[in-house]
């Protein structure tokens, strides 16, 4: 019998807000332990939470980008459980009334080859709700220390429908989701910094069977690759269990990406009773049409829409757009250069090859690049006009990247101009023609290749800085006189 997998993902995404979800203290990563705290974060006696509007703006934006229905009223619930990383021993979350319902994530599956676009499909979402993050436990010898810097950071939980069918689809889903979050400025989704975390619910069933099998929740999938590998591992584990005549047990399993194995964390019987109830410290929030419209106005074009547009509008190949599009700043850089008149394919090539190489070598983010779209547009134009030659253009590019000077200045400073001026070129051509009457006769007699006899002397006179195409044009013009 052959089986198919049914997978639903629960993805936690930290919102990129200036302050925490219920208090003014800054949210962030990497600060010394317990410095991003205040009485509210530490749940001192008597403190109260106050909702951060930026967090609501961001989750509404995420919902709008993903095509969710935004609830007109959203309320807050307490999820009660004891754990040392949870200062209040309850988490403020949303239980039965999530702010976003429905929606979908468009994903792209791997293509048949690297330069071929893969199949696109839509993964439906169940809901997105807002909650607060907990602190971090650091287990040492004889003691466990708690760092509450992360506690109270706004956290969005994105729950997909169980419609993902493979480990590759799960990987593609996370990749697409991350792109959208980055496009919306909602989160950087850096898994190493805990900005994105993923749990997977996995079951298998005989192909064609509409009923769902017993699901297993897989936790600790702490990189995109581990998500893919962990799911693949769990699917084959379940298939093996069933093939051996056994039954899949409902449980939570912990995946270890380093060893590629998983072990049971807890069974269904040990599931928590979270005693949800509406948080009496917070008032429900009304999301009216004007608020939604104001956020809608800030929503960018979705990444795959942009990719399709870049291909259609600029004639760029799939391979180039798939380099440019995942990073909105890179794609913006391209579009800015193109808007300045740069030939699109040339500009895209410079960005995808040279700019990324130089940024990588210098370990610089694009935002800190001294080479900006006007530099690139200028460079592409100089090459196109024949003012500089392609080998010189590479030199100019690296110089601009290092100095931030515009290409004309670099060309002048380094003397890389293809020819000093047309008058000079004309003079060199006239001299070469005058010195070789035989070839003039041959050419005029119909032997086209005779023109090459003039080019050597011209190039020598130009010390190599003449554009062969221009020399050819000039010679033909003079020979036609």
């Amino acid at each position: 019998m052959s089986y198919e997998a049914v997978i639903g993902l629960e993805v936690h995404v930290q919102l990129k807000t200036r302050s925490k979800m219920f208090t003014r203290v800054a949210a962030g990563y990497g600060a010394p332990a317990n410095t991003l705290t205040d009485p509210v974060v530490l749940a001192l006696p008597g403190v109260l939470p106050v909702m951060n509007k930026e967090a609501l703006d961001k989750i509404i934006k995420a919902g709008l980008l993903l095509g969710c229905d935004i609830a007109p009223v959203c309320k807050w619930d307490r999820k009660n459980y004891f754990y040392p990383d949870s200062p209040k021993n309850y988490q403020i979350s949303q239980y039965d009334q999530p702010i976003c319902r429905g929606g979908a994530v468009e994903i792209e599956l791997p293509g048949a080859a690297r330069n071929l676009m893969g199949e696109h499909k839509r993964i439906a979402l169940t809901r997105i709700h807002l909650e607060e993050d907990v602190g971090k436990l650091n287990h040492g010898e004889g003691a466990s220390l708690v760092d509450f810097n992360r506690a109270g950071t706004p956290l969005m939980e994105i729950v997909s429908e169980p419609v993902i069918r493979s480990a590759d689809e799960a990987f593609a889903y996370l990749t697409a989701l991350k792109m959208i979050m980055i496009y919306g400025g909602i989160s950087d989704c850096d898994m190493e910094k805990g900005q994105l975390r993923c749990d997977a619910n996995i079951s298998i069933r005989p192909v064609g069977d509409p009923a769902l099998g017993t699901k297993v929740e897989l936790k600790n999938l702490n990189s995109f690759a581990f998500v893919r590998d962990g799911i693949a591992h769990e699917i084959s584990r379940q298939v093996a269990v069933v093939a051996a005549g056994g039954q899949v047990v409902q449980e939570t399993r912990d995946y270890d990406g380093l060893t590629g194995s998983s072990q049971s964390l807890r069974s269904k019987e040990m599931a928590h009773d979270y005693r949800y109830f509406p948080d009496p410290d917070l008032m429900p929030v009304q999301v009216d049409a004007a608020w939604k419209a104001a956020i809608q106005a800030t929503c960018p074009e979705l990444p795959f829409d942009r990719q399709r547009r870049l291909q259609a509008q600029f004639g760029l190949p799939y391979t180039l757009t798939s380099v440019l599009v995942p990073d909105p700043e890179l794609a913006d850089f391209f579009e800015a250069a193109a808007a300045l008149g740069a030939k699109p394919q040339a500009a895209a090539n410079w960005i995808a090859n040279d700019l990324l190489r130089e940024l990588g070598a210098a370990k610089l983010p694009l935002a800190q690049s001294k080479l900006r779209p006007p530099h690139l547009a200028g460079l592409v134009r100089l090459v196109e006009q024949g003012t500089i030659l392609s080998n010189a253009a590479k030199e100019v590019f690296i110089d601009m990247f290092q100095t931030g000077e515009l290409p004309e200045a670099v060309v002048a400073r380094r003397g890389l101009k293809a020819e000093t001026n047309l008058g000079e070129l004309e003079q060199w051509c006239r001299d070469a023609i005058a010195a070789n009457a035989k070839s003039v006769a041959d050419f005029k007699g119909g032997k086209d290749s005779a023109i090459n006899a003039f080019k050597g002397p011209v190039m020598r006179a130009a010390k190599g800085k003449a554009d062969p195409k221009r020399v050819d044009e000039m010679l033909r013009k003079l020979l036609a006189e």
């Binding site: 009485p39 008597g46 009660n80 005693r275 949800y276 109830f277 008032m283």
Partner: protein, 490 residues
């Protein structure tokens, strides 16, 4: 000194303003009085004499510098030990917080400091404000100044006793189901629970978040208006505080009193049934007659869902407290068991050792009613009952301006009398709980004494956010009677 320690805030403000009295002299008199009587009353958990005098000196300096002085400049105010004052203990009368010092000010504290008031002493209460006699304190039992064998009521028993005994001209308490009004009645002082949302709860140790409200204990209605005016108002740190302007309560009370207004006053028939002590009933009836003589129209009203109030209250309040008190786990602050070997034991032992029996009882009850499968039957149903109770009141207010009732079914009972019977103790709040469930303002003021000399309180229940009118109704009665001028023999 006797005139000083029982002077009203208004009188004290006048004498301070005329420089007949300095804040330091007043503070010294209050400290001396406290030292003289508190070994018997035991209203205080602690007080910081040096800090109080330092605050008094700063107040005198402000006045000397010509800074405009409000009605609370230089006035000592006691704090129920659940309201945060930076640098002072905040114990909730619990072992759990026995050594906790607050690093921050509650919003009411910050407001009182800004008004020039002096933060004076930490006042005893039933642990985490759970109780009606202050016997549930892990610190000590506070006595009723009128009869030291009897309880002062609770949970704000220390606040009521301190004001009644002249150990503070005013104090703050908190009221979740009657915890300001009931002790005020039992100690013959004025106690006001404002409408839910009128006063910020930021910095008040939460018992039941949807019911808790901070309010003043004073010896006159006018003084209650003064303190309310200083602490009321929207607070960006409390999402449940009402974003509405605060009326000038002092002026409003004076205006109402001068207006000779003939209010329509409702008498809820459900509040005068079985269980009401006859002497309390008679005193309240006499007060009603006084209002009739004032020209007020007295009407019987019905609050038909009253009989469900105690049950609904003990579901909602315990549910909320089971969650609110989860933070006391021994991890970040507070009592931590030295016997714990792992994190689960740390929770179990720290909480077992840190909480008293009544707190544990309520946490267990609240945990139970929120449990999976019980939520709809208990918590959700109690919330529906709560809505019905609020509607009862709002329907009554279609016909009347305010409601008159007893505050407590009995006068002060003897220490230990109800301590072994939690249900009997819960019924002490039978007339006050509905007001919290409905979010209304309620006030208790002295309206007589039993033959044996125990105080009796009249409860006046107002319309949502109409504290000014409520205080006006109270002042009209106060102006015609002298019950509030009697002092306990200490």
């Amino acid at each position: 000194m006797a005139d000083l320690i029982y002077a009203s805030l208004e009188e004290l403000a006048g004498r301070l303003g005329r420089r007949e009295l300095s804040a330091v002299e007043l503070m010294q008199a209050v400290i001396a009085r406290t030292k003289a009587v508190d070994d018997r009353v035991r209203a205080f958990n602690s007080f910081d004499e040096a800090d109080a005098l330092e605050q008094a000196r700063a107040s005198d300096a402000r006045r000397a510098a010509g800074r405009e002085a409000g009605p609370l400049e230089g006035i000592p105010i006691g704090f129920k030990d659940v309201i945060a004052v930076a640098g002072q203990p905040l114990t909730a009368s619990s072992r759990m917080l026995a050594n906790f010092v607050s690093p921050y000010d509650a919003t009411v504290t910050a407001k009182l400091k800004a008004a020039g008031a002096l933060c004076w002493g930490r006042l005893n209460l039933d642990e985490f404000a759970m109780g009606s006699s202050t016997e549930n304190s892990a610190r000590h039992v506070t006595a009723n100044p009128w009869d030291l064998e009897r309880v002062p009521g609770g949970s704000s028993g220390g606040s009521a006793a301190a004001v009644a005994a002249g150990e503070a001209p005013a104090a703050l308490g908190s009221d979740t189901g009657g915890s300001i009004r009931q002790p005020a009645a039992l100690c013959s002082v004025v106690g006001l629970k404002p409408s839910y949302g009128r006063v910020s709860r930021y910095g008040l140790i939460a018992f039941a978040s949807s019911l808790d409200q901070i309010g003043p204990f004073t010896r006159t209605v006018g003084d209650a208006a003064t303190v309310l005016g200083a602490i009321a108002g929207h607070d960006p740190r409390d999402s449940t505080s009402l974003p509405a302007p605060v009326p000038d309560y002092r002026r409003a009370v004076a205006d109402f009193a001068a207006s000779g207004r003939r209010w329509r006053l409702g008498i809820p028939k459900e509040y005068f049934g079985a269980g009401l002590d006859p002497e309390v009933g008679a005193a309240v009836q006499a007060a009603i007659e006084e209002y009739r003589r004032l020209g007020c129209e007295i009407r019987e009203v019905s609050l038909p869902h009253t009989r469900y109030a105690v049950a609904a209250y003990y579901i909602i309040a315990t549910a909320e407290c089971s969650s609110n008190l989860a933070r006391y786990d021994g991890v970040r602050y507070g009592h931590r068991s030295s016997a714990a070997k792992d994190v689960l034991e740390l929770y179990f032992k720290s909480r077992a050792e840190g909480f008293g029996p009544e707190v544990k009882r309520r946490i267990i009850l609240g945990t139970y009613v929120l449990s999976s499968g019980y939520y709809d039957a208990y918590y959700l149903r109690a919330q529906k009952v709560r809505t019905l109770i609020r509607r009862d009141f709002l329907a009554a207010y279609q016909e009347v301006d305010a409601i008159l009732a007893p505050t407590s079914p009995t006068p002060a009972f003897k220490r230990g009398e109800k301590a072994a019977d939690p249900l009997a103790m819960y019924l002490s709040d039978i007339y006050t709980i509905g007001v919290n469930l409905a979010g209304l303002p309620g006030l208790s003021l002295p309206c007589g004494f039993t033959r044996s000399g125990l105080p009796i309180g009249l409860q006046i229940i107002g319309q949502p956010f109409k504290e000014a009118e409520l205080l006006g109704v109270a002042r009209a009665y106060e102006a015609r009677t002298a019950w509030g001028e009697r002092r306990p023999a200490l």
